[in-house]
Assembly symmetry: C2
Homo-oligomer: 199 residues x 2
C-alpha cells in the first residue's frame, strides 16, 4: 500500500514537471535529464515509471482527461437536474481543457505534430469516455421523462462532436480566442442541443 | 469584358494547377515554375495574376469557399422549408470541404503549418460568410413562424461552431474518418440543433 502511494506520488511529480517543461520548452526540446533535474530524482528513477519520453507526454495528456472525467462524473452524480448537468458538463469539457493547456502557447502544435497518430488515438478514447458520462445523464433525463426517449448514445456523441471545435487540439488556446468567448460559444451550442433532446 | 473573362480563365487555370500540385507535392515543394509548366504559360504570366506563392495558395482556399458559398446560397434561395435548408446546408459545409481536399492526404497539415496565421484569418472570414447565409434562413424560418424568434445571429453561429470539428482543418480527411461517418455526425448534430431552434 505504502509503495503504491509512493509510486503514484512520484508519477505525479514527474507529470507535474512534464507540464512545466512542455509549456516552457515544448516536446522536442524537453529531455529526460531536464525532467529528472526538475523533479530532483535520478534519470534512472524516471525510467522506473515510464519507458520513454513519448509515454510520459501521452500520460500527461491522459492525466488531464482523467481529472476532467473526475469532474464530469462529479457533476453527473450530483443532485442537479439532467438539463443543468449537461449544460455544466458541456462547459466543463471546454473550459477545463482550456485552463489545462493555456500556458502552452505554440508548443501544443509542436506536441501534436511530434506525436500525431498516437495523440489522435488517445483523443478518440478520451471522447468516448466523455460521451459515456454524457450518455448516463441523458438516460437519467429520459427515465425522468424530461428528455425524449431513444438514441441516447447518438445524442451523447452529438454533444461531444458539437463542442470538439472549441477544444485546444488543432488550435492553441490563443488561436481559439478568449476564454469567455469560447465559453459563450459552448453555451450557445449546449442551449440549442438541450432544447433538441428535451421531451 | 473579354479581357476580364480571360483574366478569370487564366486565374482559374492557375488555381486548378495549384490544386493538383498541392495534393501531389504539398505547399513547400510546389514552385511557381512547376505551376507555370502545369498551366502551360510562362512564369511571368503567373506573376501578372498573383504576387506570390502564398497569395496563390490562399486564393485557392478562398476559391473552395466561394464555391461552397455559391452552393449554400443556392440551397438558401430554393423553395424548400427552412428546416430542410438548414439540414442540407449543414451537410454541405461538411461534405463539400471533405470532397475538396480529400486527395490531399498529409499535405493539408503542411499547408496549415506553412501559412498558419493567414489561413486562420481567412478561415474566420469563411465561417462568418457561412454564418450569414445560415442566419438568412433562420430569419426566414422565424418570419414563417416555424423557428422560434430571437437571437438569429447567435443561433446561426452555433450551427457553424457545432460542425467545425468535422471540417478538414487541423485534421486531414483521413484522420477525420470515413465520409459517411462524418456526414452521420453532422446530421446528428443538425437534428438536435434544429429541434432547438424550432418553435
Amino acid at each position: 500500500m505504502r509503495a503504491t502511494v509512493q509510486t503514484k506520488e512520484i508519477r505525479d511529480a514527474i507529470l507535474d514537471a512534464t507540464d512545466k517543461l512542455l509549456a516552457r520548452f515544448g516536446y522536442q526540446k524537453m529531455t529526460i535529464d531536464d525532467l529528472a533535474a526538475e523533479v530532483g530524482i535520478g534519470k534512472g528513477s524516471i525510467y522506473l515509471h515510464f519507458k520513454s519520453k513519448e509515454e510520459i507526454a501521452l500520460s500527461h495528456v491522459d492525466r488531464i482527461i482523467d481529472r476532467l472525467c473526475d469532474r464530469l462524473e462529479m457533476i453527473a452524480s450530483s443532485d442537479k437536474s439532467p438539463d443543468k448537468k449537461i449544460r455544466l458538463m458541456t462547459l466543463e469539457r471546454v473550459s477545463f481543457r482550456f485552463d489545462s493547456v493555456q500556458h502552452y502557447s505554440e508548443s501544443i502544435n509542436e506536441l501534436l505534430s511530434s506525436l500525431r497518430s498516437k495523440l489522435l488515438a488517445h483523443r478518440r478514447e478520451h471522447h468516448e469516455r466523455e460521451a459515456s458520462i454524457f450518455e448516463s445523464v441523458i438516460k437519467e433525463g429520459q427515465k425522468q421523462g424530461v428528455f425524449e426517449k431513444g438514441r441516447s448514445s447518438e445524442k451523447a456523441q452529438a454533444f461531444i462532436t458539437a463542442t470538439n471545435a472549441l477544444l485546444p487540439f488543432g488550435l492553441s488556446t490563443q488561436e481559439l480566442g478568449a476564454r469567455h468567448e469560447i465559453e459563450g460559444k459552448a453555451l450557445a451550442v449546449a442551449k440549442l442541443m438541450l432544447r433538441g433532446v428535451s421531451a
